[in-house]
Amino acid sequence: MPMLQTIGLNKRFGGLHVTNNVDLTLEAGEVHCLIGPNGAGKSTLFRLILGEHLPSSGAILFGGEDITGLKPFQRIRRGMSVKFQVPGIFKALSVRQNLEIAMQHHYPPAALGEEIDRLLAFLNLTADSTRLAGNLSHGQKQWLEIGMAVSLKPRLLLLDEPTAGMSPEETFATGEMVKRLNAEGMTVLAVEHDMAFVRQVAHKVTVLHLGRVFAQGSIDEIVANEDVAAIYLGQTTAHETAHEAAHA
């Protein structure tokens, strides 16, 4: 059974048809990347999946169940979790408290402290645990948010541009983290513009363009697709090759 399935999903904003009959299927255990030009409708699709927007028409199945009409928190409780494009953290609370709020219902109180320490170390934020989250640098905020999303132990992890603003090195580390989570059984749907990252993690890539599924396939197929290059990739990037070489 697919982990997530959208069936004929449509979303209109006034005259703007932002999501156009999208059929997307995510198999359990895969890392699926969603790419496409700015304004293609990727974030909107995310919001539909999360229930922040209600679709104009169409249905969403999660683990075989129809979740189209559910409220966001109900979807989260069924095993989704998300990192937004713009970091959504509790700015006036400490880093540690941010994680505590995310995790308190998923771990027994006795184990909570230890779990938080573990996650802090994993996120490289141990030294910053008492700082206010709002005072972190942009990249650190991204990490914290990923940490909060992951800590819910979701079946499906949704990542909207997880590496925005990260250096190649950090992007790579994030990719490794995603792979590790995936190896532990998490299904991942990520929106990214960083092709190196996509190449590093994706089992399957879907290209969205003008609200439609424009192409789908493995990363190599997509990169080789001239139409995709025309609308999105531009000339093949030199650095991507360098990056690959470095971590080969």
Binding site: F13, G14, H53, L54
Partner: protein
Amino acid sequence: MDVGTLAFSALYQFGDAFAFLVLSACGLAVIFGMMGVINLAHGEFIMCGAYVTVSAAHAGVPLPLAILIGALVSAAVGALVEILIIRHLYDRPLDTIVATWGLSLIFTQGTLIVLGSTMAGVGTPFGSFTVGDYSYSLYRLVLCGMAVLVIAGLYALFNWTRFGVMARATIQVPHMAAALGIDTRLVYSLTFALGAGLAGLAGGLYAPTMTLVPTMGTTFIMEAFVTVVVGGADVFLGTAPAAAVLAVVKATMTSWYGQLAGQIGLLIAVIVVIRVLPRGISGFLLRERA
């Protein structure tokens, strides 16, 4: 009684309620809608406008000019208040409730101490006219006209002028507005002064028709808040239709069941509107066309 007389009287009552709602609310709406500040000293700016207007009129200044002076003095006081107090509170708008509450105590009681408990009025100008069986105060029509003028002026100011766009930008993302070369402090001061000035204008316009006491501002407050809530955050789209809707509610309820019904009708209208249109009328007009 013929239909024309009835229609005119209904229209007159509606216009009268509309003017009171608009003029009470517009100063509050500008400050709240633009700056997110709940100005509990709104009534005191109204009082200030009224007092200055009447003092000027007593000193022999013609009434229209006196009203203008009232509005300007209120605006100046508003600018001063912004510079001394409000400016320091923009990052915590809810605290402005306390600060402006404090200000209102200072203004009301200060006026009482300095100027005494009342001030003699100037009398309503222009006399009356008759339609059918009823006679009406002509000045009330002037108030109505002023209300329309103020709404139109505000709309034009904020949507069509440089200052308007600048002010809206500043209020949304102040640091970015500054980084693009806008003198955000000046914009804040001017916007607050505008709100205070409009309150003063309301005070000046109503001064000839009312008792002048230091607490007179409070009689405007409820109407002002109700209109702002029903209008929603966007002053220019919201205030006029909100005042129109509420004027209908108030005028009808008052004429059928008396003033208490009119007042409670207003407050119930708020709750209903909030239930149906949580973001007020302007929120509805600007809704993400989903």
